[in-house]
């Protein structure tokens, strides 16, 4: 039997929302620190919206939870502020999920739902089912097994050569870099502030996209890492040259996975590839201390980044319609609408979302 969906505004959720979220999380996603309540509730605190909770239950047992917002008449989209690289969607992977039922339960006018950043590792019950989708990002991971030397010797020649060059350059210039691994609750907020101040000096600061203690993003990351640090699940890696911070990386982790959320570096030191140096030190640290089993980046990796990875997976976007007929009509209308908006695009280029 398929579970039955219910859709309620977040403010009217009949039970303890975060308790339900926690229960489902620990049953099906506890390896992923980004889907736990700390992440989702902090995100909602800093980026509030008219969020609806869709819950799929089977014999009173919750099997799936999804945060949604209405976009236009008849349309829904998963709640996904840009700080979240993954759909805030918990589900039993064995579940025979029925999103059409969600649309029926969401009201008579609900015709379509757009789901962004579905992760095949977490949302296989849905990603295995959909046939029309668009690739969203090519994510990469590093599996932590064996020792760092074995991992490093299995990397591509060019990556090892580049890193060797960086280390030689530092040696030649008599520069010693100190790595600081900050995880205590009392120090983590200052480390996030330092991250923001460094990132704001880069091109991101000029374009207003950097995190900084004076902006919403900075407040979000400060709050987030403080919450994770309480459970010993936050880590900031800082690389210093003398007293100058040259790179910083924000991470959250649990016994299974460390997620590198954000990284930045001092542009004045780009000769020493501080971003790569930081990644090298982080990976070495995780191997040496045997902290967890994977490093996940939740990024859209380019060729250079992929040299570091031991596995990749593609996050996807998809649209699901209430009925096959509505989908057929949409597949006819959407290309026309798109062509009217962007006349340079050819008809038929639409892939669903």
């Amino acid at each position: 039997m398929k579970p039955i969906w219910s859709v309620t505004p977040m403010s009217q959720y009949p039970r303890d929302l975060w308790q339900d979220w926690d229960d489902l999380y620990y049953r099906h996603h506890k390896h992923n620190p980004m889907l736990n309540r700390n992440f989702v509730s902090t995100l909602y605190k800093h980026y509030p919206d008219d969020v609806f909770i869709a819950v799929a239950s089977f014999e009173k047992n919750i099997q799936a939870m999804l945060l949604l917002v209405k976009t236009s008449v008849g349309s829904w989209v998963n709640y996904l502020p840009s700080q979240s690289p993954i759909a805030l969607f918990l589900c039993n992977k064995e579940l025979d999920i029925d999103i059409q039922n969600l649309l029926i339960r969401a009201g008579t006018t609900s015709l379509r739902i757009d789901l962004y950043s579905l992760d095949p590792q977490e949302h296989s019950c849905l990603t295995n089912q959909v046939t029309a989708y668009q690739p969203h990002a090519r994510n990469m991971t590093i599996q932590i097994s064996g020792n760092f030397e074995d991992y490093w010797s299995s990397r591509s020649k060019s990556l090892r050569k580049n890193m060797k060059q960086t280390l030689n350059r530092l040696n030649t210039d008599k520069i010693t870099i100190e790595n600081k691994f900050i995880s205590s609750e009392k120090d983590i907020e200052n480390a996030v502030d330092r991250y923001g101040i460094l990132e704001s000096q880069s091109w991101k600061g000029r374009y207003g996209t950097a995190i900084h203690p004076s902006n919403q993003q900075g407040q979000f990351y400060g709050d987030l890492l403080k919450r994770y640090a309480k459970d010993k699940q936050a880590l900031v890696l800082e690389n210093y040259c003398n007293d100058t911070l040259i790179a910083s990386r924000l991470c959250i982790l649990n016994a299974d996975t460390l997620i590198s959320l954000k990284t930045t570096f001092n542009e004045k030191y780009k000769r020493y590839a501080p971003g790569n140096f930081s990644q090298y030190q982080l990976t070495r640290y995780v191997f040496d201390k045997n902290i967890c089993r994977h490093i996940d980046f939740y990024t859209n990796a380019n060729k250079e980044k992929l040299y570091w990875s031991t596995a990749t997976r593609t996050l996807i976007n998809t649209s699901i319609y209430r009925t096959k007929n509505i989908e057929k009509i949409a597949s006819f209308i959407n290309p026309i609408k798109k062509n009217l908006k962007h006349p340079q695009l050819k008809l038929g280029a639409n892939n669903g979302v």
Binding site: S200, G205, H212, S214
Partner: protein
């Protein structure tokens, strides 16, 4: 004299006297360039050199719909605009600088210079008029300041009773609540400075003010001022939680009040007012300043703290040899006429 055009303030090599205010030194313009310049506005830096001296006019150029505009490099962070120069600019030097680069300036339809003091507005207006521009001077903003300060006692003796009473009442109230502490210093090292700046930014985020559009500008300029011992940061803590912060700059016996913020949730205790009182006492007592300057803005509360005000002016120079310049000149003339004939709105100039 000869001149060249630079495309970034980073290439300004004009050596300035040490006592030049932070708002007109090279670093200020380097940081400001990052904030102002984008796809529609590019740096246009004119450097004029004679045998011994160098002067630089940091400007930005923007072109849109056939109108070429030059503006002095300034934005809402700028309390007053000055040239970067190795000398004190007299009328004559200013005139020579503008004459030297006149062919470059005349390529533009309009030139905007603001905010500037009245005397600078006159100099700019004369210099630009002498090379053929038609200049329109207007009031841009107001600057409140208090000069001739002799001592803390003398300063407070000149304040209105109302302000003194508020301060006393609020002080007693905070004493009763307990847990408040104010720290004013220059930060002993860069780490301490960064922590203080973080505290300031967190407070600013939760204040009544709009989001800081270019926070790195604040960080960078404060670091620069800190290196030169010109920065004073005051922070009030409530049980070690930062609740109010102020950033001041000290230069040449003048204290400039650059940034004020307090957490909105603490507004009822007037912690901002009490921090201002402490900062004033500190700069008069410790830094021996004889002038306190509230910089830009005609906010009502400033008149209780300051003794005098002066207008901050703007000059718009229009090139009458071009139709675009003529259009702007006509608009300016009509604007003056409208102000003269409007009974409710007094003429600024």
């Amino acid at each position: 004299m000869e001149y060249k055009i630079l495309d970034t303030c980073k290439n300004i090599d004009t050596i300035q006297p040490e006592d030049v205010p932070i708002f007109s030194n090279n670093q200020w313009y380097i940081d400001l360039e990052k904030s102002i310049c984008n796809n529609t506005s590019t740096p246009y830096i004119i450097t004029i050199t004679d045998n011994k001296n160098q002067h630089t006019i940091p400007m930005t150029e923007s072109s849109n719909k056939n109108i070429r505009r030059l503006k002095c490099m300034a934005n809402y962070y700028t309390p007053f605009y000055k040239l970067v120069s190795s000398l004190i600019i007299t009328d004559e030097i200013h005139h020579n600088i503008i004459s030297t680069c006149s062919d470059s300036l005349l390529n533009f339809h309009t030139i905007d210079i603001a905010p500037i003091y009245t005397e600078d507005a006159e100099i700019w207006s004369k210099s630009l008029s002498s090379i053929g521009f038609k200049c329109h001077t207007y009031q841009h903003s107001t600057n409140w300041y208090h000069d001739n300060i002799l001592s803390v006692d003398q300063y407070w003796s000149l304040r209105p009773d109302k302000l003194i009473k508020i301060i006393e009442n609020k002080k007693n109230k905070l004493k009763k609540i307990g847990g408040y502490k104010t720290v004013i210093n220059r930060a002993n090292d860069i780490n301490e400075l960064q922590i203080k700046l973080s505290h300031y930014h967190h407070i600013y985020y939760e204040s009544w003010k709009k989001l800081e559009p270019h926070p790195y500008f604040i960080d960078s300029i404060c670091q620069h001022a800190w290196k030169n011992n010109k920065l004073r940061i005051g922070i009030t803590y409530h049980h070690d939680f930062p609740v109010a912060a102020q950033i001041w700059f000290i230069n040449n016996s003048t204290a400039y009040i650059f940034k004020l913020a307090h957490r909105h949730s603490y507004r009822k205790n007037s912690i901002g007012t009490l921090l201002t009182e402490k900062m004033i006492n500190h700069v008069i007592d410790t830094d021996k300043v004889n002038c306190i300057d509230f910089l830009t803005g005609d906010d009502n509360f400033k008149k209780d703290w300051m003794q005098s005000n002066r207008p901050l002016m703007g000059v718009q120079a229009c090139n009458p040899k071009t139709w675009q310049g003529k259009v702007f000149e006509t608009i300016n003339k009509l604007s003056v006429l409208r102000k003269k004939t409007s009974p409710l709105k007094p003429t600024n100039q």
